[in-house]
Symmetry: C2
Subunit: 190 residues, 2 copies
DNA sequence: ATAACAAACTAACAAGTGTTAGTTGAAAGA
DNA sequence: TCTTTCAACTAACACTTGTTAGTTTGTTAT
């Protein structure tokens, strides 16, 4: 593995700590100590504690936004779109669970234009999801249940996958995806 | 409404702030200001910031623990047990969404014996849930899917209901319960 | 009227916060 | 070899944190 530059190391390390204790409870001295340097040295690489949070959260949020846009535009069935959305969440969870924890728990500590930008992306994401569900109901692929309940139920599961992944052994990425799709789409009752 | 005693007012007020910004980001001065008094005055009613967190989190955790124990012991079908669990989460969400947010996001800021106690309750809760699912699979009421996936999927939705309840209008408690049961148990596909 | 109490206050503290300034030693490029 | 750059350092800052001590004030019980 190529040695990451120091800024990336700091961000990854911070993300791990943020996941464990939350943004506010982690001090610059905590981050420094985990890297075995002094807090002041961090400022050779990053502008502020805020910047670390922004770099962690915004990048992931943009990836979600970009990908769901592509999914909406793809010419496939509703079910296939939903499976792609499940795949998207699993992908990112496996690749970067710490950043995902951050995005879920610490986004409210963003400020100013980044906060606005984040909220906008989040709303757009949910709106795209809502449109997938609605057109699935219209085409009789999905039951005529209140779309908000469906969106909430699926998203709350997918968004918190990071809490669970890693603790449970014996899942390959594809077996996880298959199990998850089955449960979320077809339910659990015989 | 009977006037709550001051300690309860403080705890409710703190819970609301903790929900918005998280335990660590809320200062005693924030709580005091929201009650229009000075921070030092809080200490006439509570011992410490920690005590506030403990009082919020432990009470709710005990209610979950107690109720799921009763559900496990009840002589009903697996499906009815699961519906009771859904009902439990909806009940508490409606009654005290702030405390639930706290329990979900700030439990890791408990310390010493309360932290241990909380983690034990959480594990017990999941173990009870797991047993309901397993016996449902054994009796052919529930599909033979990996129980961990089912537990995770249902619990992640139920645990984060507080995020959603209040934002969405037009749900009575019972219509919410019916919709939720349908989606979680039978899925969304036609 | 007096005593007792509840619940607010002011003032202060020690420890911890993010951050800046200026310095140093080692590595890399000319 | 000389010089620039990088990434660490020490020292300090202004401010915020949870908390304590001691005091005041209004209400209630004797």
């Amino acid at each position: 593995m190529k040695p990451l530059d120091r800024k990336t190391e700091i961000i990854n390390c911070a993300a791990k700590l943020f996941k464990e204790k939350g943004y506010s409870a982690v001090t610059m001295r905590d981050i420094a100590q985990a890297l075995d340097i002094k807090a002041a040295s961090l400022y050779n690489h990053i502008k502020s504690k805020q910047e670390i949070l922004v770099l962690i959260v915004i990048e992931i949020a943009e990836e979600f936004t970009k990908t769901i846009n592509e999914i909406v535009l793809s010419k496939t069935t509703t079910i296939q779109k939903l499976e792609k959305v499940i795949q998207l969440h699993i992908d990112i969870t496996i690749r970067n669970p710490e950043a995902l924890a951050c995005l879920n728990n610490d986004w409210m500590h963003l400020t100013d234009k980044e906060l606005t930008y984040f909220i906008k992306m989040r709303e757009d994401y949910e709106e795209n999801f809502r449109n997938i569900i609605k057109s699935g109901i219209a085409s009789n692929e999905i039951k005529n249940i209140n779309p908000e309940v469906i969106i909430f139920s699926m998203l709350s599961t997918l968004r918190t996958l990071y809490l669970w992944y890693g603790k449970k052994k014996g899942f390959t990425e594809s077996s996880l995806k298959n199990n998850m799709s089955e449960v979320l789409l077809n339910g659990i009752i015989m």
